[in-house]
């Protein structure tokens, strides 16, 4: 038992692309950073991701997308989270995402998106900093 709040993160791999190395690397880094990581495997639909996020009461959903479908998938998951009353969850992620797209998504309320070559520590630091700003929820 500690007083320190655990950060719970769902690492999700939506859509049909089967490249999960990145998701696994980031999941391991999150674990090593002391996060509790729920990894759900490949081929998740937005509905599956949001369902899991709610049941697991995660603080963060981190999606890895290398298929080019990011402009569809991020907004879709964001909408479903909002519909489910779980808009407090930070939706972030990474993959092959052009800067302009990332900027456009951030304007829609999506968190920071990380491209290839990002040190895993940057993603960890980003989530920790965001978490610090969040109060206790009931």
């Amino acid at each position: 038992m500690t007083d320190e709040r655990k950060i719970r993160v769902l690492v999700a791999k939506p859509g049909l692309d089967g490249h999960d190395r990145g998701a696994k690397v980031i999941a391991s880094s999150f674990r090593d950073a002391g996060f509790e990581v729920i990894y759900t495997g490949l081929h998740q639909t937005p509905e599956m991701i949001v369902n899991a996020a709610i049941q697991e009461d995660v603080d963060v959903v981190a999606m890895s997308i290398l298929s080019g479908a990011h402009m569809t998938l991020f907004p879709r998951v964001k909408d479903l989270l909002r519909e489910a009353g779980a808009d407090h969850i930070l939706l972030t992620g990474g993959g092959i995402i052009p800067e302009d797209d990332a900027k456009a998504l951030e304007e829609q309320g999506i968190g920071k998106l990380f491209g290839p070559g990002t040190p895993t520590s940057a993603a960890v630091a980003y989530i920790k900093e965001w978490f610090e700003t969040q109060g206790e929820r009931v």
């Binding site: 999150f30 729920i38 759900t40 495997g41 899991a52 697991e56 009461d57 489910a84 206790e136």
Partner: protein, 360 residues
């Protein structure tokens, strides 16, 4: 019992309306032992509990998650809603965890009649997380008629699942070892049902046979059906052991014969038989009164846990950090021992005034 805070009262209201978000949040509050979690549990438990609780345990990679998924499908087909708690280990180094049991349960991911929660052990060593039992209670209180718990991959002595569930299924694989393993103390003693999963692999028949043999051995009738060998009929001793009575069946104290079943979780083979065996065990628990005994035992363990936890919390709150640091200095200097320091703290706590000043 102290009352609920307005926030928790509101949460409980949403919980009662069947909002999944409220259940998920209630679980987090209990898991993190946040202020008021005991009052919340009290409010939920006071309404009585109804769920049938099934524990699935076994070594890592035995197929526990896959079997849980198959069983959940089976129960869903019967129309029952199912709660699942899946426990995976926390890292003792980083405190983090990678919870991967949902990977095997993806078919269930969007079924509104299923609620899966992953828990990290957070330092607990019994095969469950510290608050897994409480989380099961919450799922029960939420209205799931069936709750399944999957332990971490266990070795031989992580047996806490027995104090969390009504029926325990121990899952093994053909590679798990021979019948001697089954005669050892620990994991093999807690099974209400044995399953040899991945039964299509070589060695499955042998393990099934040896498990049945080991169960009979404990019953003292292993030789019953074996014909005379080298002129010595060992079975006769057993068969004639109790003249005038039927041959003795092996009995666990409460009279349940442990079934040994073969399954192939990836194809669903044997899952119906497993569910039937669990059902039969349930019927046995009810008929024999053993269910009440187990529940009472569970309640006792819970009371002891809560008292210990609360005492520990109160005790350490009474010991000021600087007091401890000063005491440790004195131990380092050789002027005190851990025992004299501890003794002084305990006296201070029991005296009600906290540790007294002065040399330990």
């Amino acid at each position: 019992m102290e009352g609920l805070s307005p926030q928790l009262r509101d949460l409980l209201k949403r919980f009662d309306q069947g909002q999944k978000l409220a259940l998920a949040r209630a679980i987090s509050i209990v898991e993190n032992e946040r202020d008021g979690f005991q009052a919340l549990l009290h409010a939920v438990l006071a309404r009585g509990l109804r769920s049938e609780r099934l524990g699935i345990t076994g070594p890592p990679g035995a197929g526990k998650s896959s079997l849980v998924a198959e069983l959940a499908n089976h129960y869903r087909a019967q129309g029952d809603e199912v709660g699942v708690v899946a426990v995976d280990p926390s890292s003792p180094y980083s405190g983090g965890a990678l919870l991967g049991d949902r990977i095997r349960m993806n078919d269930l991911a969007t079924d509104p009649g299923i609620f899966i929660r992953s828990m990290a052990t957070r330092g607990s060593l019994g095969g469950l997380a510290t608050t897994t039992k409480e989380v099961i209670d919450l799922m029960d209180g939420f209205g799931f008629p069936r709750v399944m718990v999957e332990t971490v991959g266990v070795g031989q002595t992580e047996l806490e699942v027995t104090s969390a569930t009504d029926t325990v299924v121990v899952v093994l694989v053909p590679e798990s070892g021979d019948g001697v393993q089954a005669m050892k103390a620990g994991l093999m003693e807690i099974a209400d049902v044995f399953v040899v999963n991945k039964a299509d692999r070589p060695g499955a028949d042998r393990l099934l046979k040896e498990l049945r043999m080991a169960i009979h051995l404990r019953a003292g009738e292993a030789m019953k059906d074996i014909p005379a060998h080298h002129g010595v009929d060992m079975g006769a001793a057993v068969r004639e052991g109790a003249p005038g009575k039927k041959p003795r069946r092996w009995e666990k104290p409460e009279g349940w014969q442990i079934p040994v079943l073969a399954t192939e979780a990836h194809s669903g083979k044997g899952v119906t038989e497993l569910a039937d065996a669990v059902e039969a065990h349930r019927a046995h628990l009810l008929a024999s009164g053993e269910l009440e005994v187990r529940r009472r035992k569970r309640a006792e363990i819970r009371v002891r846990d809560v008292v210990s936890r609360e005492l520990r919390r109160v005790a350490w709150r009474a010991v000021a950090g600087e007091e401890l640091a000063r005491g440790l200095d004195r131990i380092t200097e050789g002027a005190a021992t851990p025992y004299s320091l501890a003794q002084r703290f305990v006296e201070g706590i029991l005296g009600g005034g906290g540790p007294k000043r002065g040399t330990p």
